[in-house]
C-alpha cells in the first residue's frame, strides 16, 4: 500500500513539499509586506490598519499611499540612506576587487601544498560569524583601540585618530566580511587560465603589464563580474556593519528598516522601505541570473 502510494505520488511529494513550504514562508510574507506597505499606520496592536481585509463586511481593499509619500516628503531621512547604501556598497565592491584580485592571482599560481593552505585561509572567515569579526574590528579601530594605542605609543600621533563611524570603518568591515566572496570566483577563473597563452605572449616579447592587460584581465572578466555581484548585492542590504561601525553619515537602508520597526514602531513605513531596498537589488540580481545562464551554455 505504502509502496504504491510512493511510486504514484512520490514525484509530486518531492516537488510540492518545498513549493508549499516556500510559498507559505517566503512568498506569502512578501505579499503581506506589500499589503502592510499600503496600509495606514495607527496606534494599536498591530500598529497598522490592513489595506486588504477579509472581515464581516466581506473583502475590502483600500490601499493607502501615505507611506511612500512620507518617504518622498522626508527624502533626507529615507532616500538619502538609499543613495548612501548604493554608494557604500559600490566602493566596498571596488575595494574588495582591489585586494581580492592579487590574492586570487597568488593562490591560483602557487604550488599545491601552499595553494591548499591559502584556500583554507580564505574559506575559514566565510564560516565564522560576521558579527564576531565586526566586533574584533571595533577593538582595532576604537579611539582607545589597538591601532591608536600603538600609534600614540610610537609617538606618530598626539591625539587618537577617529576611525570608527567613518567611511573607512565601513569599508574595513565590508572587506572583512565580503573578501572571500570576491576571491572564490576570481580564483576559479584565474586557475583555468592556460599557461601556453602566457608563454606564447612572453616569447613574442610582450611585457608583464601587456600580458596582464591583453590576456589575464579579459579572460578573468567573468570572474570579476561574478565576484562584484556576489559582493554588491548583500552589501547594499547590510545591517550589522552600518549598525556597529557606522555613524549617522553612514546610514544604510538595512539599518533604517530596523530603526523604523523597532524604535519608531512605524511598521508600514518599514515595509515600504523594504520594498525600495528590493527595488534597488532587483537589477543586479536579474543581471546575475542572466550571466549565469550565459555561462552555462
Amino acid at each position: 500500500m505504502m509502496r504504491i502510494f510512493f511510486q504514484k505520488y512520490g514525484f509530486l511529494l518531492v516537488i510540492w513539499l518545498p513549493v508549499g513550504w516556500l510559498s507559505l514562508f517566503f512568498m506569502l510574507p512578501l505579499i503581506e509586506m506589500i499589503n502592510v506597505s499600503f496600509s495606514e499606520a495607527r496606534r494599536a496592536v498591530p500598529p497598522y490598519n490592513p489595506a486588504f481585509q477579509i472581515g464581516e463586511k466581506g473583502i475590502s481593499f483600500q490601499p493607502v499611499f501615505d507611506n511612500y509619500l512620507l518617504i518622498y516628503d522626508y527624502w533626507g531621512d529615507y532616500l538619502w540612506p538609499a543613495v548612501n547604501s548604493i554608494r557604500l556598497a559600490f566602493f566596498s565592491t571596488v575595494w574588495c576587487l582591489f585586494f581580492a584580485y592579487p590574492m586570487a592571482w597568488w593562490i591560483a599560481r602557487s604550488k599545491k601544498p601552499l595553494q591548499h593552505i591559502l584556500l583554507v585561509l580564505v574559506l575559514m572567515p566565510f564560516w565564522t560569524s560576521s558579527l564576531l569579526r565586526m566586533y574584533a574590528l571595533i577593538g582595532l579601530l576604537n579611539p582607545n583601540g589597538v591601532i591608536n594605542d600603538f600609534l600614540l605609543w610610537a609617538g606618530i600621533i598626539v591625539t587618537p585618530i577617529q576611525m570608527m563611524q567613518t567611511d573607512f570603518s565601513i569599508y574595513s568591515g565590508m572587506l572583512l566580511t565580503y573578501l572571500p566572496l570576491m576571491i572564490l570566483p576570481l580564483y576559479a577563473s584565474l586557475v583555468r587560465l592556460d599557461n601556453a597563452l602566457l608563454e606564447a605572449a612572453a616569447d613574442l616579447g610582450a611585457k608583464n603589464w601587456e600580458i596582464f592587460r591583453t590576456i589575464i584581465l579579459p579572460l578573468s572578466l567573468p570572474g570579476v563580474i561574478a565576484g562584484c555581484l556576489l559582493v554588491f548585492i548583500p552589501a547594499v542590504g547590510e545591517f550589522v556593519i552600518p549598525a556597529l561601525l557606522g555613524g549617522p553619515e553612514q546610514l544604510m537602508l538595512g539599518k533604517v528598516i530596523w530603526t523604523e520597526f523597532f524604535r519608531n514602531r512605524d511598521w508600514p513605513v518599514a515595509a515600504a522601505i523594504a520594498i525600495i531596498l528590493i527595488a534597488i537589488i532587483i537589477l543586479p540580481v536579474v543581471y546575475a541570473r542572466y550571466q549565469d545562464k550565459e555561462g552555462l551554455s
Binding site: W106, T128, Y135, V146
Partner: protein, 268 residues
Amino acid sequence: MRRNVPFLVKLLAIIGFGILYVPVIMMMIYSFNKSKLVSVWAGFSTKWYKELWTDDILITALYKSVLIGISSATISTIFGLLIAIAFVRFASFRGRLFLSLVASAPLVMPEAVTGLSMLLLFIAMEASFGWPSGRGIDTIMIAHATFGMCFAAVVIQTRLRDMDKSLEEAARDLGGRQPFVFLSITFPLILPSIIAAWLLSFTLSFDDLVIASFVSGPGSSTLPIVIFSKIRLGVSPEINAVATLMILSISAFVILGSLLVLRRDGKK
C-alpha cells in the same frame, strides 16, 4: 600558469590576508588580558573564560542557538535535498519556474527584508487563526529553515549533477525499485554534500542576528542577539573570550573538514 608572481601582487595579497586575520588574532590575544580595560595589557589571565561559565544569560542563549541550529539545519537539509532532486532529476514539471524563483530569491534577499516580512506574516497569521501564538524558538526555527533550505539545495544540487548516473541505471536495470535505488546507491554517493549542506545551514542559523531579532519574542534571545546587545554597550574582555571560543571551534571544524576532503582527493 606561469609561477612567477610579481612582487606588488604578492604584497597586496599579503595585506589582504592581513585584513582578514589581524583583527581576529588581536581580539584573541586581548581575550587573555587581565585588565578590564580592553586596550591596556595588564598581564596574562584566563579569568574571563572562567567567568563565562557563570553567565547564565550566555549559557541559556547558547543552548537555544544550538537547539534552533540543529532543528532548522535538519529541516533545511531534507527540503534542500527534495529541491535538488526536483531540479536535477525531473526535466520538466509544472511549477518548475516558480520553484526555481522561490528557491533562489531567499539567497539574495537582504536579511532585514526577510526578517521583517516573516514577522509581519506571523503576526497576521496569529491575528487570523491564532497560530503561532507569540514568537519564540519555533518561529526562529521556521525562518532559519526557510533560507537554509535554499543554500542546502545549491550545495546538494551541484553534487547530484556531477554524479555518475550509470551506477543508478545499472541498479535499476537489475530490478531495483526507485526508493531502494535511491537509498542504497544515490544517497551514499551524495552523502558528503548532504553533510556539507547540513553544516552550512547550521552555521547560517547559528550566526544569524538580523532575521532572529525580527522573529524572536521575549525570552527567546539567541546567542548572536545577546552578543549584539552586549557589543552595543562597548568592548569587553568577556565578549572577546566568547568570540574567541566560537571562532576557534568553528575553525577547527573547517580545518578538519578540509583535511578530510584533501585526503580523499589525494587518493583519487
